[in-house]
Every structure is written in C-alpha cells, then in structure tokens.
C-alpha cells in the first residue's frame, strides 16, 4: 500500500464538516496496528508525541472535533424525526438558556413559521416545559429587546389576502419617523413593536413598499442598530434571503462552531416546506452563484452530506 496516500485520504475523511464513514471503514478499518501508529506519528495536528512515555496521544481538540463531526448526522436525524412543534419549542428554549447571542433563533422561529406552526410550537412549549413561551421569554429577557421578542412569539397573524393599503402607507410613515428620530432606540418604540408584532405579513409587504418609496432606499439594508430588529424584518418580508444568508454563513470556511450548526437547523426545519425550500434554493443561487447542492457536495462528507442532499431533493 502507498502509505502517504492513505494518510491523505484518512485525514480528508475526518476533516471539514461531517465524516466520511465509508472511507473510514475501508482505510482505518482495514489497517494494521503498525499502520495506525505511523498515521499517529505523521499527523501532528491530531496527535502529540509523548516522548517520555513513548506513545502518541490525541490532542483534546481532535477528540472534540471528532465527537462533533460524528454527531452532526445523529443530531440531524433526531431533529428530523421530532414533531416540528417540539423542534421549534426546544430551539426557543435552548436560545433562551444560551442568552443574548442566541436570541436570533427566537426571531427566526417566530417570524418564519406560519401562524398555526408558531401556535403549535407554543402548545408544545406548554407540554414540554410547564410554562408558556411568552412567560419564559418575558421573565428571562431583560433590556431593550424584551418587548419585541415577547410580541413576536405571541403573534397569531391574519394570513388571508385582505389588506388595507392606506393603512400600510400611514404605518410606513410612522416607521420612517421612528427610524429618523433620535432618542429611544428604534426597537423600543411602542409603535414599531406594535406594527411588527401584530400586522399580517401581507400588510408588512405593502408597508415595505411604501417605506422604500418614502426613504428612497431599501429598508432591509438595516433600519436600526438592533440586529434583532433588522433580522425580524428580513424574516418577515424575505425569509428566502434570510435563510440563504445564514446557510452561506454556515458553509463558509470561516464559520465557527455555532454558525456551522445553523446548517442542520435550516435544512431540517424547512425541508418539509417545498415552496419555501425552492425559493431558498433560487435565492441562494442568485446571491452566491452556485447551487446549494453543489456547495453541500463540495464542503460536506459522509452520511451527513447524503442526508442533507436527500432533504434538499424533497422539493425537486
């Protein structure tokens, strides 16, 4: 056997996202004890030589990395098998526990799900955690975002096709004034929160159009310092763009541990919604010049990759 080649393919099989289970079985599985020793000695990034005691031990980060990468497929499957309501309830709970850096998850769940799905998540929350989603969020979130977050998860929006355009127009003016004025942070302004947390998505689309006309610019470029507010707007108005952006971030080479997890979440929570998934695929292609399938193929390996591609193909 040409040993260096084997090392290369073995290293390749456990690097990046996911793990190439088949390659591991055929290389590592078939290997002799001496081959593995040579591999450990050669792989300085995974193992460190303990010369005094004459053995090669794993770097801590190597063990953690393997554990994480092996579990990606596992987590995706468990999440996929769960009822969507339980999935979303657990996501919100986890985000609450994690703290401010994870509140974008709460925005995502509350703004991109249908009214019935969000209500379902709230029901599941009762069942799983013996309290309501809004009481948990209200008592654990302090600071300027509380009103927005509680309002967003409490929403049970009208989803029909009736809309009052003049009402949308006057509310666009209100929003424009709120954004322009100084003083209170935009995200804390009562009128802003009222409009974003009670109006139907259709009404908000009309509002968006009028706002852009007033301001002469696209308000999805960001209306406030609050990234949560900006994210809420994006999720409510252009969820396909939102999801494409976070998918790209998760597949980027600079993605950190947390960001990489977004990949599973988006795929598993959106794969059952074919229309949305197709919009996401199209938007991703528009924004980044390649298809999601291509990017997954390049960057991911093993069962995890195959699972993601299978989920992706459900909407083909």
């Amino acid at each position: 056997m040409a040993l260096p080649l084997e090392f290369e393919s073995l290293t390749e099989a456990i690097s990046g996202m996911g793990v190439d289970e088949n390659a591991l079985i055929s290389t590592l599985g078939k290997s002799q004890k001496e081959h593995r020793k040579l591999f450990r000695k050669a792989s300085k990034s995974f193992f460190v030589e303990d010369e005094e005691r004459a053995f090669e031990k794993c770097h801590d980060h190597f063990v953690r990395h393997l554990k994480l990468e092996f579990s990606r497929f596992n987590n995706a499957v468990v999440m996929w098998a769960m009822h969507p309501w339980e999935r979303d309830a657990r996501l919100v709970k986890k985000a609450l526990k994690k703290g401010e850096e994870a509140y974008n998850l709460i925005v995502e769940v509350s703004c991109t799900r249908s009214a019935e799905d969000l209500l379902g998540a709230r029901k599941a929350y009762h069942s799983l955690f013996d309290q309501s989603m809004e009481e948990d969020i209200a008592s654990h979130v302090h600071g300027p975002h509380r009103k927005l977050l509680v309002g967003l998860v409490s929403a049970y929006r009208y989803e029909g096709n009736k809309v009052k355009d003049d009402s949308a127009k006057s509310e666009a003016k209100i929003l424009a004034e709120a954004v322009a004025s100084s003083g209170e942070e935009v995200v804390e302004k009562d009128e802003v929160v009222r409009i974003l947390t009670t109006r139907s998505k259709l009404h908000l689309q009309h509002l968006y159009k009028h706002f852009n006309e007033i301001k002469g610019s696209d308000f999805l470029g960001g209306v406030s310092q609050s990234s949560l507010l900006n994210e809420a707007l994006l999720c409510l108005l252009k969820p396909a763009v939102y999801f494409s952006k976070i998918l790209e971030a998760s597949l980027n080479k600079d993605a950190d541990k947390t960001t990489k997890k977004w990949l599973t979440r988006v795929f598993v929570t959106r794969a059952d919604h074919s229309d949305e998934m197709n919009e996401i695929k199209e938007e991703f292609n528009n924004l980044y010049g390649e298809t999601l399938a291509q990017r997954i193929q390049e960057k991911i390996k093993g069962n995890y990759r195959d699972f993601l591609l299978t989920l992706l193909s459900k909407s083909d």
Binding site: L119, S132, A138, V150, S154, Y158, R194, T198
Partner: protein
C-alpha cells in the same frame, strides 16, 4: 356550573328548525316559541339547528332573527344563538369601535375564556373581519391601556396546576413594590399579570395578601386618582382569579343602571349561561340578598325578560 336547561329528549334539529320557521311566518312573531326552543339548546345543538335551517330555508337563522326581532330581546337572542367563539369575536369587534367602546369586554374575553377557546375566538375574528384581533386592539388603544390590553389578548397561558412557590414569593414582592411606587403600568407589573398561568397568579396574589396584609385590589382601590386604567387593572385581576365576582359586579351595575355598560346584563347572561352562571347566581344572591332572576324580573320586561330568565334556568326545559 351552567344554568342552561336542556330537555331530556331533545327534538331533532329538523323539527326545531321547522318550528322556528313557523315562529317567523305570518303576522307577527311567536317570541315565546323562539325562546322555548333556543333558550333550551346548548351550543352544539344550536349550531346544528342553524345549519339545518340554512339548508332547508336557504337563509341564515340569524338573518331571520334579525328581521323579525328587535332591540334588547333581539340582541339577547342573536348573541345567544351564535357559536361561543363567533359571539366573542363579535363582542370584541364591537368593543373596539368608537361609539361602542368597552374595554371591559376585551378583559372578560381575554381573561375568563380558556386558552384554547381564546384561540378559537381569534380564528373566528380573522375569518369574519379579515384581520387579527391583536391588530385591531393594538390599533385602537394607546399608552397604558395598550400596554395592558395587547399582551392580555395575545397571551396563550399555560393552563396546568403547577405552582412555583419561590416564584410566587418573588413576584408578589415585585407586585408590591410597584404598587407602593404607584407604578401601575410598569413593564414587570404587566409582565406578571399578562403572562403567568392562572394557577401561578393565584398563588402569587395569595402570597401578596398574606405577606403584605391586603389583597392587591384593595391597595389598587386606595389610589385617590381612580382612573379608567386602574378600574380595568382591577377587573383584570378579578377576572383572572374570581371571575364570578366580576360578572356579579357587571350584572349589578347594569341592573341598577349605574355606570356605562348598558349591555352588560345581556352580555353576561348570554356568555356565562353555559359556563358558570350558577356560581354567578350564588355570588349575586350573597352580595345583594336577592336572587338574580328576581332582580332581572324587576328591571326588565316582556320577551327580553323571558329570554334572560329562561337562560338562567327557570321555567321548563
């Protein structure tokens, strides 16, 4: 407990529909017949009668009632005949309109209906008015009233019996602090009232009473500058803990022609007959030393009186 009396052998909805149709035909209207049927059918039965009537006579029963009846009697029959979620949606819509503005109605709907029932009200509201209840409440209120009413109608309370006694203690403390500071629309104050489960709130308010010597509503009443917001706040607390007390009060004020809630009598009787009217009757008797049906008989007359008294469970089924 409900006060509604339904006959042991309920006629088929086809027969009821036929009788009702007879009650409308010819000269005048046979109100007694209408009362004898509708006031003795539960929600499911009334719903069946409505669909059979529509299928047989090509007209919505409610439209027919609207044509034939008038004033307080009509309102009582119409409200009664509606499905409870539709009824609440109708009452809620009415309460947000300028000339019929009545925030107590919203408080009653948001605080005394079970959580899943409130969702059905919202669905009925959206179906009928093509917008959400929350949108309308938000749009038609402002300031402190909105701060209180919007979360109140938006919440989906946990309905289990679990109580966290440490939490009850800490939140009773918060409530007391806010009341002492006269910060009646403070964020935390409102948060507790509008998100906690009824069981948890009950425990918290008991703790408040035990720890600080007075029920919270008593403290809220001591405010010399008693305004609409405070009155509403007290109503919220009563509705969440002892709804029958709230409904007794609405009935008493309406019967004695005090206050501005003139439709209170009709509303309470039609919305509570199938829920807890027996308890409300007890509370009324306790408080006023006269049975509710006697008070109603003194204050009302004719078909309107007959309808209300029938719903209260008097007369034959």
């Amino acid at each position: 407990m409900a006060s509604l009396k339904v006959p042991t052998n309920v006629p088929r909805p086809e027969d009821d529909a036929e009788q009702l149709h007879k009650a409308f035909s010819g000269w005048g209207t046979n109100e007694k017949l209408i009362i004898s049927i509708l006031a003795h059918r539960n929600a499911a039965q009334r719903s069946l009668i409505r669909s059979v009537y529509a299928a047989t006579y090509n007209e919505d029963l409610l439209k027919a009632l609207d044509k034939e009846l008038s004033s307080d009697f009509e309102r009582a029959v119409m409200l009664w005949t509606l499905d409870p979620p539709e009824r609440d949606a109708y009452l809620a819509k009415e309460s947000t309109k300028m000339f019929t503005k009545n925030n107590w109605v919203l408080v009653e709907i948001a605080c005394t209906r079970p959580a899943l029932e409130l969702i059905k009200v919202k669905q009925a509201y959206q179906a009928r008015y093509k917008k959400s209840l929350e949108e309308d409440v938000a749009q038609h209120t402002s300031g402190d009233l909105r701060k209180l009413l919007l979360p109140l109608v938006s919440t989906f309370r946990y309905e289990g019996d679990d109580v966290n006694t440490m939490l009850a203690r800490s939140e009773a403390k918060i409530l007391h602090e806010k009341v002492s500071e006269k910060a009646y629309s403070d964020d935390d104050f409102i948060r507790i009232l509008t998100t906690r489960s009824k069981a948890q709130l009950g425990a918290t308010l008991n703790r408040y009473n035990n720890e600080y010597g007075n029920a919270i509503n008593k403290n809220l009443k001591e405010e010399s500058d008693d305004n609409d917001y405070l009155k509403l706040l007290r109503a919220v607390i009563t509705c969440l803990t002892y709804p029958e007390k709230h409904f007794e009060k609405v009935l008493r004020l309406s019967i004695n022609k005090m206050g501005t809630d003139e439709w209170g009598l009709t509303r309470v009787v039609t919305t509570r007959t199938e829920v807890d009217m027996e308890r409300i009757k007890e509370e009324y008797q306790r408080r006023n030393s006269i049975p509710l049906d006697r008070a109603i008989a003194k204050d009302t007359s004719g078909d309107y009186e007959d309808m209300l008294v029938a719903l209260l469970g008097h007369g034959d089924a």
